[in-house]
């Protein structure tokens, strides 16, 4: 595996996100700012600096269609940035967390986003039209330790989370008024917000990255014990396969390692 291009932006990068057209990248250079770089004529130029957080920014996600950036940080806050003209305007989102936020992801339909935190909770935020405000709902009491990574299922309702207690859990995040019940999907017809669908206890060590396959049938997550766990038919009786690597711990999994008809 060879790198396509190598650029040094900072000594240490905490997290990053690509813009929908892949021409810009936003990242945190291990401080409380977010730098946005644009590729202009073969050179990367710094175009914006988003400064609002008080502590290090741990999660950035750039939504595909609505061109919004959500950032979360160790200061328990989250901002949604909208581009108005040449400037990015932040909107504070009250997450009601009492510990730092560790990861964030927009849902596939971009009307919600999920935040995993060190408070052993997951926060789902959605936009309320009447009050012009982002509201958060918390999933409490189900995790034993910090939530390191979150991933949305393509149906916009199921959410998979991994945590430092080694478990991967799938929750339903159905919110009345934001999500519409489709009669086709019978599996999530009787689940309310925050209900845990399944808990996967395959890893003995911390679990770090999680992703769904594009069809939503298979789930993959990686552990500190350098193993990837693939789970098919997530539901009452999941089928799991493990792949062990000989090298060092794995930290994240990308969405490209899936094929539709088996491995």
């Amino acid at each position: 595996m060879a790198a396509v291009a190598v650029h040094q932006f900072a000594q240490c990068i905490t997290c990053h996100a690509w813009s929908p057209d892949q021409s810009m990248v936003a990242f945190c250079p291990n401080n409380n700012e977010v730098h946005i770089y644009k590729l202009l004529e073969d050179k990367w130029e710094k175009v914006h600096v988003l400064q609002k957080h008080d502590q290090i920014v741990t999660g950035i996600d750039w939504s595909g269609r609505s061109n919004r950036i959500v950032t979360v940080s160790h200061d328990r806050n989250s901002y949604v940035w909208n581009q108005e003209g040449a400037e990015w305007v932040p909107t504070l989102v009250i997450l009601r967390l009492n510990r730092a936020a560790l990861c964030v992801q927009w849902s596939p339909r971009e009307n919600k986003f999920a935040v995993g935190s060190g408070a052993k909770t997951v926060c789902i935020c959605y936009y309320e039209q009447e009050n012009n405000w982002w509201v958060s709902k918390l999933i409490r009491k189900k995790h034993d330790s910090s939530v390191t990574s979150v991933a949305w299922h393509p149906n916009n309702i199921l959410l998979a989370t991994t945590s430092t207690d080694g478990k991967c859990r799938v929750f339903s995040t159905f919110i009345k008024g934001v999500d519409t019940r489709e009669s086709k999907t019978s599996s999530s017809s009787d689940s309310k917000f925050g209900e845990q669908i399944v808990q996967l206890d395959l890893s003995f060590s911390w679990a770090f990255g999680v992703k769904w396959s594009p069809s939503g049938n298979t789930l993959a997550y990686v552990g500190h014990n350098s193993m990837i766990y693939f789970v098919d038919d997530v539901g009452p009786s999941p089928l799991a396969q493990n792949v062990a690597f000989r090298n060092l711990p794995l930290r994240d999994v990308g969405p490209i390692c899936f094929r539709e008809n088996g491995h």
Partner: protein
């Protein structure tokens, strides 16, 4: 004798390469807005990994404890007789007092050991992982040499002083 040293150091080096995967800027779960080395606190057992003890023989061992954002290495150095005991204690105390200059050194050794290192994710961000491992392994090699040299110089000096003193009785 020399090849057990090589094996011992290789084993430690491999363990450290696996243990030093700490790029986690992990916020404290107990206290908000704080960031503490979890291996020192030990408040959340799920964030700690199993400690590994590597023994060369009964007298020399190395304890490596890992957690999600920090790593503690404690060494027990070979001390054959009383003189080496005193020399080791004084020499390592001299180094521990100046722990700020070393950055990765711990001011007090862990109970039962002679010297301890504390490496956090911040150290791994600023410094290269391979170089840190090289430093620790080099330190272990040099400690033995230093103690032997000190012991030899103490013995030599003792002999010279005694010779001079007893000349007056000849």
């Amino acid at each position: 004798m020399a090849n057990t040293l090589r094996l011992y150091l290789t084993c430690i080096r491999n363990t450290l390469e696996a243990a030093m995967c700490l790029q986690q800027n992990f916020p404290c779960q107990e206290v908000e807005r704080h960031n503490k080395p979890e291996v020192e606190l030990k408040t959340s057992p799920e964030l700690l990994l199993n400690p590994v003890l590597i023994c060369r023989n009964e007298a020399e061992k190395c304890l490596i404890e890992t957690s999600i954002n920090s790593l503690r290495i404690s060494l027990k150095v070979k001390q054959a007789d009383e003189l080496e005991n005193i020399l080791t204690k004084k020499f390592l105390r001299f180094l521990s007092m100046r722990a700020e200059a070393f950055q990765v050194l711990r001011r007090k050794p862990v109970q039962g050991y002679d010297i301890s290192f504390l490496i956090t994710n911040y150290h791994c961000e600023e410094m290269q992982k391979q170089k840190l491992i090289d430093f620790i392994v080099q330190f272990m090699e040099d400690i033995d040499k230093e103690i032997s040299e000190l012991k030899m110089s103490v013995n030599t000096r003792g002999r010279l002083v005694a010779t001079e003193f007893l000349k007056q009785f000849i």
